[in-house]
């Protein structure tokens, strides 16, 4: 008999936990940068279209797959997908739904630990009186495990371990006693902090507190539509990609949470409520903070430079400095709110990442809740330490790329085909609408069967063979040169090898050594990730054999 006795406390708690799973750092850091880089206001059109034809269908698919698997006592994707078709190989596809979470948690908890640390630094006034360069230098020193003003030796490691302990402890309290309780506190606070910062973001006046632009300049920069870009496949690809990351689909966490819902209870409305809540946080709050505040104080040119480096740089190297333009007290409060909302966004997602692994151990090997939570914490620590220690060698980015990007698309593609074509749309539709508190529009039968898998296939192929500079026109006219960002080129380390060749040609031994080390660590992290995947697949095989021995299959 399974040791898994978890359940949700309340419907609102489940929705907040599911929304918390979806709302992550990307809502505040990735979305505004993607929007700026892909047509400004025009980005929102493909973004919302992709939400309607890919995001919502995937949410319904994952919720109903989870609830369906839960009927048979499965709470992790390997055996959830195994119940949907007699082919025994499906459960190995389901391994993605555990592996992704462990691998993503390993580096995600590291960023989460930065937010925890930066909250404390905001309170003790570390950033008071610092100029922008000093704040940026502080971050660089922090991640290189340099000296910190708190005087704690190995500060990033200490905060990383603290963060993991916190996650493990909450997970060990179970779904309703731990995860749900955190979501019920964390989500309202996140929205409250977000609303305060959004208000500050949209009320900046040029000339006040050192601002050089009104908020409207930043909002114009973000929202002015460049309709020409609307026809670019790269923009649509970016929009579809953003929908993926923002909804946490293709990970296995939604399946796991939904597997604790009984078959007579609604999932269609729950999915819509949690999904739109995530959109509110991303589009309404996320768009009103990072870019308007940065442009208000730094100007468009500087921010255009900074967004090329991604949202993390703006969040940790720039905003702490900008907040202190509002005065020491408000600067400290805003810092706590900013890193606090990032922390809540992070922890509600990282907690979700622990549950599929715990569900798997509880279901298959009768592990207790505490033991399975601690095993998650230990595995994430072991897998995550390379991202902490070798951050500058690209280990962190490597985990993010393979586990946090490629793997999501692969798994979502497989699950959409399994659901619509293998399990069958007739049974699938029954699963989505069973117990539903809303009328699910019939058009979604067609969308789930045809549009969603095709869109996912396009996202996958588009990422696999991205043409140079995203120039699809040139690619289709016969000149298909792969971009260094394509999966194939990434796999071949083309960009790194090119840089290495240039460093050798320029006779720069220090740079050559750094790039050779980077190449080594990049390859080593891939081997590590593959080893983890194979180990989980082996455990799934052992669990399957155990089931056969016990006569459960």
């Amino acid at each position: 008999m399974s040791a898994n006795k978890e359940s949700w406390g309340s419907r609102v708690g489940l929705i907040l936990a599911m929304a918390g799973n979806a709302v992550g750092l990307g809502n505040f850091l990735r979305f505004p940068v993607q929007a700026v880089q892909n047509g400004g206001g025009a980005f929102i059109i493909p973004y919302l279209v992709c939400f309607l034809v890919m995001g919502i269908p995937l949410l319904w698919i994952e919720w109903s797959m989870g609830r369906f698997g839960g009927k048979f006592g499965h709470h992790s994707t390997p055996f959830i997908v195994d119940t949907m078709h007699k082919n025994r190989l499906w459960k190995y596809i389901g391994v993605f739904g555990i592996w992704t979470n462990i691998a993503v948690a390993a580096y995600y908890c590291y960023i989460e630990s930065w937010t925890l640390s930066y909250m404390l630094h905001s309170v003790v006034g570390t950033f008071e009186g610092m100029d922008q360069d000093a704040v940026a230098a502080f971050f660089n020193s922090y991640i290189s495990i340099g000296k910190s003003t708190l005087g704690i030796p190995l500060e990033p490691i200490v905060f990383y371990v603290l963060c993991l302990l916190l996650n493990t402890f909450i997970l060990s309290q179970g779904l309703s006693g731990g995860v749900e309780r955190v979501a019920k506190v964390g989500m309202p606070l996140l929205i409250l902090f977000g609303m305060f910062l959004a208000y500050k973001g949209v009320t900046i006046t040029a000339g006040v507190d050192g601002a050089i632009n009104d908020s409207s300049v930043g909002l114009n920069y973000l929202w002015t539509p460049n309709y020409e870009q609307l026809w670019s496949p790269s923009v649509w690809l970016a929009a579809a990609g953003q929908i993926f990351f923002t909804l946490s689909v293709g990970m296995g966490t939604v399946h796991c949470y939904a597997s604790y819902v009984r078959s007579k209870d609604d999932i269609a409305l729950n999915a819509m409520s949690a999904g739109w809540m995530n959109e509110f946080v991303e589009v309404v709050l996320g768009a009103a903070i990072l870019i308007p505040i940065s442009i208000g104080y730094l100007g468009i040119e500087r921010v255009t430079e900074l967004v090329q480096l991604g949202g993390l740089g703006l969040a940790f190297k720039t905003l702490p400095y900008l907040f202190f333009q509002w005065g020491d007290v408000l600067g400290a409060i805003s810092g706590v709110m900013w890193f606090g909302l990032l922390f809540f966004a992070g922890i509600t997602s990282s907690l979700a990442m622990g549950t599929p692994w715990m569900g798997f151990l509880q279901d298959e090997f009768n592990w207790g809740r505490k033991a399975s939570a601690w095993s998650f914490g230990i595995i994430v620590f072991v897998l995550g330490m390379p991202t902490v220690l070798f951050f500058k060698y690209g280990v962190f980015d490597e985990y993010d790329y393979w586990a946090g990007t490629v793997s999501l698309v692969v798994f979502a593609l497989f699950e959409s085909i399994l659901f619509a074509w293998v399990f069958g749309m007739k049974k699938g539709w029954r699963e989505i609408t069973s117990g539903s508190d809303i009328k699910v529009p019939g058009i979604y039968k067609f969308i789930i069967k045809f549009i969603t898998p095709l869109l996912l296939l396009w996202v996958f192929v588009g990422s696999l063979v991205t043409p140079k500079g995203g120039d699809w026109g040139a690619a289709f006219s016969g000149n298909w040169v792969l971009d260094d960002s394509s999966i194939i080129k990434k796999m071949m380390n083309s960009s790194l090898k090119k840089e290495l060749a240039e460093a050798i040609a320029a006779v720069n031994p220090a740079e050559v050594e750094r790039l050779q080390n980077t190449l080594f660590y990049v390859n080593a992290s891939r081997v590590l990730l593959i080893a983890v995947f194979l180990s989980i697949a082996l455990l799934v095989y052992v669990a399957y054999k155990k089931r056969v021995r016990e006569g459960k299959i």
Partner: protein
């Protein structure tokens, strides 16, 4: 703000906020199903029990 940016921003914000509130309100206003349901916090509420046959 320029007009096109303002139109896109306001339309998006109103639509997303409206739908978020609408679906969450619908969750709150939908009467719960009788026990046993998926949620344990309300297990002991007398009005939620199935009538004994």
């Amino acid at each position: 703000m320029n007009t096109s940016a303002l139109i896109i921003m306001l339309t998006t914000i109103i639509m997303v906020t409206g739908l978020t509130i609408y679906f969450f309100y619908k969750v709150l206003s939908t009467p719960p199903r009788p026990e046993p349901d998926s949620y344990i916090d309300n297990d002991d509420e007398p009005e939620r029990q199935l009538p004994k046959s």
